[in-house]
Amino acid sequence: MGNKNSKSPLILEVKGNSLDDGPGIRSVVFFKGCPLSCVWCHNPESKKVAAEISFDAGRCINCGACREACPEGALSPANPYYIDRKKCTLCFLCADACPSGAIDRVGRTMSVKDILVKIMPDKPFFDTSGGGVTLSGGEPGLFMEFTSRLLVALKRNAIHTLIETCGFFNLDRFMKMLYPHLDMIYFDIKMLDRDDHVSYCGLPNDIILDNFMELNRAAKQDGKKLLPRTPLIPGITDTAENIRSIAAFLKKQKVDEAALLAYNPLWHEKSVKVGADDPYKSDRAMTAFAEHGVLERCKALFAETGIRC
């Protein structure tokens, strides 16, 4: 875990002015690549470690420049996702030729310095608002060395740091390389049932829960904020049973605050752009915004155990 990715990750985006990924005004660095493969992943383009190519039909003006540029004949309106990814060699000549930005490279190499150059102009906004930088993804924990170097550089610039993690990482390396440079940790706990976790997220959750327990102990001791978060996926994670179990688990760890995230269906469009299969594209619950009341109902279940959210 993690070792195979000792080289630099690809970065999807450095997004400024985020107001929902931690305190204050923040920049969010999205890493590409995740050990889990949750079926509802909000950033489906972040699942694979390798670079990908995306096509946005809404932006395409059908000028044909990309088809002329492609040496493989991989592009055609007749293809289901426009790009035939079996033929595509990811040379990106089409993306260079595209005037509208409909075809784009997903994932770019960025050095720690590149990222800092992008982030630093917004530092005055972090300082006024009590914000900072959030590492997200994908899973930043998949790239321990790079993430560590990035965190060190951020701290050297006196920037508040926060990681959003799926919890599946090598704990020793995490504690040694990331933890000391983190001000806050947002830790996803999606499902408590092991088998469900395997079938929806691709891997068992033992490591995740163990990591949480360890991290919780350390964070309590060090006075660091560790916030467990559960995305409310219709019929999958938002069942009363799952929410009750998570609440009970957290209660046992003496956690007093958690976050519940309302479901957002916008990932379906992103799925199409990278040509990924989407088994839920016709599912009514999964393609609509969260029903009113789901969040309140789940919050109430948490409240029963005395956990704030």
Binding site: D122, F125, T128
Partner: protein, 987 residues
């Protein structure tokens, strides 16, 4: 073929004109309008098409109308149509349409502008039912015809404002326990609620009082020459006329008001200034109640008075016509009258200044008259000009005193009849107050507020009500508030008094809404929804440099929040070094609760932008916003800070077309190079061409501004405001002649982002990356990108633009502001002062945009420019890129301030406090980075779209245009769309 068509149109026109002439010659009900109180209206006017296919004239002589088959050598005016289609449309179109066609350059007028307007009036007499039916249809299809009164009630009832609390933090706050005053709501002030309902629910009416009384005096006493046929000293003439006006105006006290006096006899009056642009409404007199946008009521009596007595007298006695007749109808005037390159505000007003109100409150007019008399005494009789000028100032002040006395009498009369004992006492008090002030020094806050208002009424009786500003009212009223508070003993009394102070200031705000500037329908497109823009300035630092935030600052903010009205236009100075975070947070909260006010100025940045003038620190620290945003050194400075709206994009178009302006179809500018001939080998050579065109237009507009300045000196010098500003008494010179201590003229340079992005596209795609040839780009631009979608897409996606965080684009924007600043700095105005460069646009980014073709930036033909210097909506999804880029523009090039619009939408799941915190973080950091000014719209495009569909639910939806506030429902369609299309940043 060509010849036949020519003949047909000419024949039709001839028939039409004959029909027109016959009606006026034969029908007494029409014929009587050929006459004024001064006799028959004799003039001739040509009607032609650009190609010459139609060319005829109408001659009006001694009550007879004749059609001339050829255009005679001398004419009073001429109307030229771009083609026969436009001519055909104009014949039966409503009068407002003719004006719009002028703006769109489908009609060009030459000669005295009043004659086409008079013809317009005649046409509406003939075709009134047809025109009204057309206007009504238009209003229906635009959904403008809802019940304004019901909508007003609804909008007031639906207001509920969450509000934070604050501890007393600012050292200047001495009396308020919680300066945010969260304990009060509009429901605590039934009087204000009633007045607000009147404001939102009443249709404005044309008021003829001012022009009628003044014209009466001038007829009696002469204008050019006095009764003895001696040439008038213009200052003395104006002073005597003003005094007569003030003595003879009706003294009115609105039912239940705490502030006495009005600028009009109507509940909401459109005050007319025929010595300026008043005659512009002549053509619309019959139809103005039916126009879809901002209709006015007009009494039949007013139509008779204006047509018979007023307008004919002023046809040649206004600023435009003075220049035409006395300065040879120069090119610069012709450019202005084509609307596409500039709008010169001196055709309307020499306004946009702030008087020395604290002085008149402290000394009373009596004190100032004493000063004038001492100055007269020490002036040798040989210096006739100075003595006359001083005498004129004294007469003017006597005029305002007379008006106050009349108000006092009226209050006493009303008190006698009043049965309600509470109101009776209020009226008795008003009788007492108006009996003392503004003649004597003010003692109480009630004195000061009433004196302010009476002086303010005087300002608008002498000068056009466009952009005169009130200044630092929190600073100037605090001493009277404090003095009153100190007299009170117990907590209850103090609480009651604070409540009274809020109500009194609320009454003052709503008094300021009693008048509207005259907006002929063309103005609905040029300056949509604008009121008088009476700017109030709060906060900042004291003349000595200390924290200026005080009790009254917060009382004004409370009133601003509760009323949420467009005018007064509230501006707040935020001084990073001296003002508290609590104050800035409150500014953000009021913006959130009102959706659009106050505008926030970075105090130090605005002062830094004026460094080149080396104003003494104490005077500089006393600056206030004027009209929209522009700095005036309060009480000492005639800065006519909105002397012109200057379309910088016209210069870019002229550079693209080798000096030709495409819409005006006019080879106007210097020949700076032909793109098709390959004249531009590099980007720099094109930038130089742009710079030359810009310089040409600036030369022209400055020339016209200076000529109009002379027209003001001749037609309307202003002894009254001269007496109330530092400089003219000592110098014995009227402010129109440079008597004020400081003199300047301020411009509004429009289109910064559009030009920056266009130049970046040319630089990147044509010269740096050679993706497209300059000719190809020009072809695409001149065909509105119709056949070049790929190029358009490439421009939008590949060219780094202003507001995206790109250094090169930012440098280009800085280069353009510097160019504009330096070019205007080369000029000296007619008062001996410099020109300043501002980057805001009122609403002219929409109007000028509608008169501009496609641009290399990918902006399509006719679309609005960005407001002020706001980046293009697609520049960045990240608001911080916008904020950073604008903050990094060099202040020293923007010495007439900027207007930077930020549209933010609070997240539904955030608390009120979190939203305020977010806005605060943006505003604070923007100021930290050096940004000069920002103005918020806290509203979503979705809401705005709904308001377009259902205006009846949004009567008081306040929006910030570029510098001023307006009600969204009063805006023209193009402006509504521009607001909707602005970048929207979620929070």
């Amino acid at each position: 073929m060509q010849k036949e068509r020519k003949g047909a149109a000419n024949t039709l026109t001839n028939l039409f004109l004959k029909f027109f002439a016959a009606n006026f010659n034969m029908r007494p009900s029409l014929r009587r309008y050929l006459k004024s109180d001064d006799g028959w209206l004799n003039f001739s006017i040509g009607v032609k098409t650009e190609s010459g296919s139609v060319a005829q004239a109408l001659a009006f002589e001694n009550g007879k109308v004749r059609v001339l088959k050829t255009i005679p050598g001398t004419l009073d005016a001429e109307i030229e149509f771009v083609d026969e289609k436009s001519l055909g449309e104009a014949a039966v179109a409503a009068p407002n349409r003719l004006m719009i066609a002028m703006m769109e350059n489908r009609i060009v007028t030459r000669g005295n502008l009043c004659y086409p307007l008079l013809i317009n009036f005649y046409l509406s007499l003939l075709f009134k039912p047809l025109q009204i039916a057309k206007l009504k249809r238009e209003a229906r299809s635009e959904k403008r015809n809802y019940d304004q009164e019901a909508a007003s009630k609804k909008s007031i009832e639906s207001r509920a404002l969450p509000q934070l609390s604050a501890r007393r933090i600012d050292p200047g706050v001495k009396f308020l326990t919680d300066p945010y005053l969260p304990e009060y709501t509009l429901n605590d002030f039934p009087r204000l609620k009633d007045f607000l309902d009147i404001h939102l629910g009443t249709r404005a009416a044309i008021c003829h009082e001012r022009p009628e009384i003044l014209t009466r005096w001038y007829r009696e006493n002469g204008f050019e020459n006095d009764k003895n046929s001696e040439p008038w000293i213009a200052e003395l003439r104006q002073a005597n006329a003003f005094k007569y006006l003030m003595e003879n105006r009706k003294p009115i006290i609105r039912t239940n008001d705490l502030v006495a006096g009005t600028t009009t006899t109507k509940e909401i009056g459109v005050v007319l200034y025929p010595d300026a642009h008043g005659t512009m409404i002549w053509g619309e007199l019959m139809t103005v109640p039916y126009r879809p946008l901002n209709p006015y009521d007009v009494d039949p009596e007013s139509i008779e008075i204006l047509h018979n007595r007023v307008f004919p007298f002023w046809m040649k006695r206004n600023f435009r016509e003075w220049v035409r007749d006395n300065r040879g109808y120069p090119i610069c005037q012709k450019i202005d009258e084509r609307f596409a390159a500039c709008f010169l505000w001196k055709t309307v007003a020499l306004s946009h200044t702030i008087l020395n109100y604290p002085k008149v409150l402290k000394l009373g007019t009596k004190g100032i008259i004493g000063e004038i008399e001492r100055e007269i005494k020490s002036t040798p009789t040989s210096n006739r000009k100075k003595r006359d000028t001083l005498q004129a100032m004294k007469i003017s002040l006597e005029g305002i005193n007379a008006y106050a006395k009349n108000l006092s009498g009226e209050a006493a009369r009303l008190a006698q009849r009043e049965s309600n004992p509470v109101r009776k006492n209020e009226l008795i008090r008003l009788a007492d107050i108006c009996g003392r002030v503004p003649e004597n020094p003010c003692v109480t806050l009630d004195d000061a507020v009433n004196a302010m208002w009476i002086v303010w009424v005087g300002v608008h009786m002498e000068n056009t009500n466009a952009g005169f500003s009130l200044g630092r009212l929190d600073q100037w009223l605090q001493p009277y508030f404090a003095a009153d508070m100190k007299k009170l003993k117990n907590t209850h009394e103090k609480e009651e008094y604070i409540r009274h102070a809020i109500e009194l200031i609320g009454c003052f705000y709503l008094r300021c809404t009693d008048h509207l500037p005259l907006i002929p329908d063309i103005g609905n497109y040029l300056f949509g929804g604008s009121s008088s823009d009476q700017a109030i300035t709060l906060g900042g630092v004291t003349p000595k440099g200390g924290d200026a935030v005080n009790d009254m600052t917060y009382i004004f903010l409370k009133v601003t929040e509760m009323l949420s009205i467009r005018d007064p236009n509230v501006n707040a100075r935020y001084n990073r070094k001296k003002n508290s975070d609590a104050y800035l947070k409150r500014l953000c909260e009021v913006n959130l609760n009102t959706t659009a006010t106050p505008s926030i100025h970075n105090d130090e940045a605005v002062m830094a932008s004026l460094a080149e003038f080396r104003y003494p620190a104490g005077h500089l620290r006393d600056w206030s916003a004027t009209g929209c945003v522009e700095p005036t050194l309060s009480g000492r400075h005639i800065g006519h800070t909105n002397c012109m709206m200057f379309n910088m994009v016209a210069a870019l178009e002229m550079a693209l077309y080798n000096g030709r302006h495409p819409l005006m179809r006019w080879d106007l500018g210097p020949k700076t190079g032909d793109i098709r001939a390959g004249d531009f080998r590099d980007y720099e050579s094109f930038f130089k061409a742009f710079a030359r065109q810009l310089r040409f237009l600036a030369d022209q507009t400055c020339e016209y501004n200076n000529l109009l300045g002379e027209a003001h000196q001749a037609i309307r010098p202003t002894p009254y405001i001269s007496a109330l500003i530092e400089g003219p008494i000592k110098r014995g010179r009227d402010v129109t002649r440079g008597g004020a201590l400081y003199n300047s003229s301020g411009t509004a340079c429009i289109g910064l982002a559009d030009i920056t992005d266009s130049l970046m596209a040319i630089k990147k795609l044509v010269f740096d990356e050679k993706k497209v040839s300059f000719v190809e780009l020009l072809d695409a631009v001149s065909t509105n990108f119709k056949d070049s979608p790929a190029l358009l897409a490439m421009i939008k996606n590949r060219v780094p633009v202003f507001g995206s965080g790109n250094e090169e684009a930012l440098a280009t924007a800085n280069r353009i502001t510097k160019l504009a600043h330096d070019i205007f700095r080369e000029h000296t105005n007619y008062r001996g002062g410099p020109y300043t460069a501002g980057f805001w646009s009122m609403s002219n980014h929409v109007a000028f945009g509608s008169m501009t073709g496609a641009l290399p930036s990918g902006r399509l033909a006719g679309k609005a420019f960005t407001p002020g210097l706001t980046p293009e909506a697609h520049a960045s999804k990240n608001i911080l890129d916008n904020l950073r880029d604008v903050a990094k523009l060099e202040q020293k090039n923007m010495n007439n301030n900027i207007a930077f619009n930020v549209k933010v939408v609070p997240a539904a799941h955030d608390t009120h406090e979190k939203t305020v915190e977010n806005i605060y973080s943006y505003a604070k950091t923007y100021a930290d980075l050096g940004g000069m000014q920002m103005q918020l719209n806290v509203v979503s495009s979705r809401t705005l779209r709904d308001a377009m569909e259902h205006p009846e639910n949004y009567q008081n939806l306040l929006v910030r245009i570029s510098g001023y506030n307006a009600y969204f429902v009063t805006l023209n369609r193009e402006m509504q769309i521009e607001l909707i299309e602005r970048a929207e940043f979620g929070m």
